[in-house]
Amino acid sequence: MSLLRQLTRGLGVLVRRDRADRDVHDEVQHFLDQASADAMTRGASEAGARRSARLAFGAAVMIREEIRSHGWEDRLTTLVGDVRYAFRGMIRRPGFAIVAVLTLALGIGASTAIFSAVDPILFAPLPYPQAGRVVMLSDRNSGGGPIAVTYGTYVEIAARSRSFGALAIADRWQPALMQMGDPERLTGDLVTADYFRVLGVSPAIGRNFSATDDQRGAPNVAIVSDALARRHLGGAQAALGRAVTLDGDLFTVIGVMPHDFDNILAPRADVWAPRRYRASAPFQSGEWGHHEQMVGRLVAGVPLDQAQRELKAIGATPVTAYPRPPWAAMNGGLLVESLQAAITHDVRPALLAVLAAVGLVLAIAVVNVANLLLTRGAQRRSELALRATLGAGRGRLVRQLLTESVILALIGGVAGIGVAAIGLRALVLLVPDGLPRASAIRLDGSALVFALAVTTLIGIVVGIAPALQGARANLHHDIRSGRRTTGSGQPVLRRALVIAEIALAMVVLVGAGLMLRSLWRLFSTAPGFTAQHTLSMQVEAAGHQYDSTTARYQLFTQALAAVRNVPGVTDAAFTSQLPLSGDVDGYGFEIESARLTDPNAGHNALRYVVSPSWFRTMKIPLLHGRTLEEYDRPGAAEAIVISAAMARNEFGGRDPIGQRMRAGPEIGDTSRAWGVIVGVVGDVKQSSLADDASAAFYVATGLWPWVDNVQSLVVRTTGDPAALAPAIERAIWSVDRNQPIIRVATMEELLDRSEAQRHFVLTVFSAFGFAALALAAIGIFGLVSGSVTERLSELGVRTALGATRGSIVLLVLRQGMALAGAGVVIGLAGGAAVSQILRTLLFGVARNDVLTFAGASFLVAAVTMAASAIPAWRAGQVDPAVTLRG
């Protein structure tokens, strides 16, 4: 009630100032009139009455002021005055306001953008109910690292483990959607029935998968994404029950996922269908291949390490009901980690590095704003002194300066939102391919508020310092002397701030330098093949007509022949996995001679099933023996070419040529003849240029137990490879019009993309580094030129006493260099710290790389030199006749 009154009365005063003034005036006047009338009737003299009237006039003004200053609306009016005053001040000195706002905008915007991008990936929980209980289970490779599990392992764990409320596997599936026009390759997952229960999300429309859907021979069913339903099936409602043709089979749509469902394991997935594997299958079959992603939902109250221990126990106690092959022996159990940790493994170092960089930028922004406000405060000493003399209390001055700081911060904040929005858009374009949860990146309100709060708080603390200090200072002296103080205020603090800015800029530059050198090193490492003039694309044999190995062999052989006939193509080859494309396909192998000494010797190597022309097309050098030849075709004995690394690892100094081995499903299969090693070729980088040389073996298409239905084509061309893409696609489609072709890219593009993460970090660090350098330069320039103005008369005296221009310039330059020197030294120490954060991203560069640290120091020194050169030059022009007279 009374609050309402307060509000309405105050608003009434604000809205109708005149009327409120008249009310107060009338009431006061009435009071005084009555009083003097009373006095008259009580017999006061005419003169006495006049005197009291005169007094009353003065009293009326004071009383009116007293009444008026009482309500809250009065404080608001003062605030409006302060705001107006602050804006006038900014317009008078636009330089200060612009630099301050830009600094704030950069600091707030950059940190908000980066944090917005990093938070959903590293910190925010996954968009599933009780997301902390969703875990990923991985098998371990010989090095202990995580690899995909086999279906057989899943079957055993699902039967024996008690830690999980639901367990499921998912395997990538790229079915071709047959419809009118071109076939479209979809992205999807083949999953077991509980897949969506593990994630805790059910279809929005229709039903979930059930155990019977996993049975072989059950009707084909699929669940589709909301996006696919809208794109091709006439919306979610219409999609339900519809039949779609995927890879030549009819599937009935039984469910549509909610439109906001985020399929973390395969973010672009549009379709899910049951993985119909056999619960027990021979070791040679797909059921025992390491290609399943296994996820589980922990039972409530079961912690991660308990599940880990249970799996270890299961791994250690094989039972006869669940036989295990050597490559899925579960030695040491399975690796259990939260799904979030599992999917962010690869990007974590890059994101943490970028987060560190943005923290530095925010620190620089804060320091710079503090510095600017200090300078400004010093410049305004006389103005504040004047106002204090005219009767403004200290509180009044503090309020004024506070208003100015807050206004600056607000404008900076709004500009910061703009910078953040633009920066975020740029980041989304920049982020490396395959960044998990990229779809969840959006402007983060709390990050914005945090950055705004930090900068504003600093601005306020620093901003009111001159008012507090002004009250202490000798005001009269400042005014009388008419001195225009220009920035010597708190010189020690200001110098410390400039040094801090230089040091922070150094740190960011060192980071940028280390990343730059790493990338140079990486791109100067040979990938093991010649990327120039090559084009790659992925081709699939889709549909039942290609169920048989021979049909697939036919298709790829004919397609290859057609591609070779395209003018401009000098050579071409198919491969089961393409270097630097994200493919990683490893198989176990056994070597006959080693088996005799150690029956359990089992190692993994990358498997390449290739056209014999592969080595010519990629220009992979032959080191020893022979490469694969056209006569290595079905019917011939299995010839195997191995990589230099495999030759070194397995045979040491011995000659591998003529040695016999079996790989993959053939291991231990005595019904099959041994393959014979016929040659050794150079190592090829498969997943990253930073890889160590990895063991690899090559088998000709048609001599491996099966022909992969998805293969990559590489074409070597005489001219621009990208220009030939349409002609090559037409050539492939001349063999079969219905085969989808995706992932068309030149090998040079793949090479670039494979280092996208490092590139991303480098881009962010360089952008921030140069911004930091610019801010530091502004800081130095302000400080040095301020001190030159301050010392004009001193410099005049020096010149009059015979100092040369050169010596004056040097004097000023030395001041700048002293600041730079201190900043660089501190920055070197900080650089060492940031290089620790970057260490996993560095390649071929020591963390304390001398060239990088020296280069960054030199750059900072040069920029500070330039920033102090202008005021130094001005100091050199000092004319004693002018400065001394003034």
């Binding site: 009630m1 009374s2 009154r5 307060q6 009365r9 009310d23 107060v24 009338d26 009431e27 006061v28 009435h30 009071f31 005084l32 009555q34 009083a35 009373d38 009293a59 004071m62 009383i63 007293e66 009444i67 009482h70 309500g71």
Partner: protein
């Protein structure tokens, strides 16, 4: 001899205003006059303090105010006590009496 102190005892202005208005609604000067009369000129009210206090009490909901026309045809602001105001008066009166008697006991105490 010094003139006797005729300032209102600090903190009692609200109480005086509320008590005066509990007798009948009146304008600002009327309140001042009535306080002076009832207190037999022991207190003289400062116009600025009084009018400010009236505005504050009105905003707090203890008083209602309305503009009326006087016999001379001038605008006069008449204040009256609200229910909230009456409660506030009762509370303030009880509080004051308690404190006065406490002070009186102290002064009468014999050492």
């Amino acid at each position: 001899m010094d003139e006797p102190n005729r300032d209102v005892i600090p903190g009692t202005l609200d109480l005086l205003i509320l008590k005066t208005l509990s007798l009948e609604p009146m304008h600002g000067y009327g309140i001042a006059r009535r306080v002076e009369q009832l207190s037999r000129d022991a207190f003289r009210i400062n116009p600025g303090s009084l009018l400010t206090a009236l505005q504050r009490l009105e905003r707090a909901g203890a008083l209602d105010a309305e503009w009326r026309e006087s016999e001379q045809g001038r605008r006069v602001r008449i204040y009256s006590l609200t229910r909230t105001g009456r409660r506030q008066l009762d509370a303030a009166t009880a509080d004051w009496k308690r404190r006065v008697s406490a002070v009186a006991r102290l002064l009468n105490a014999e050492g």
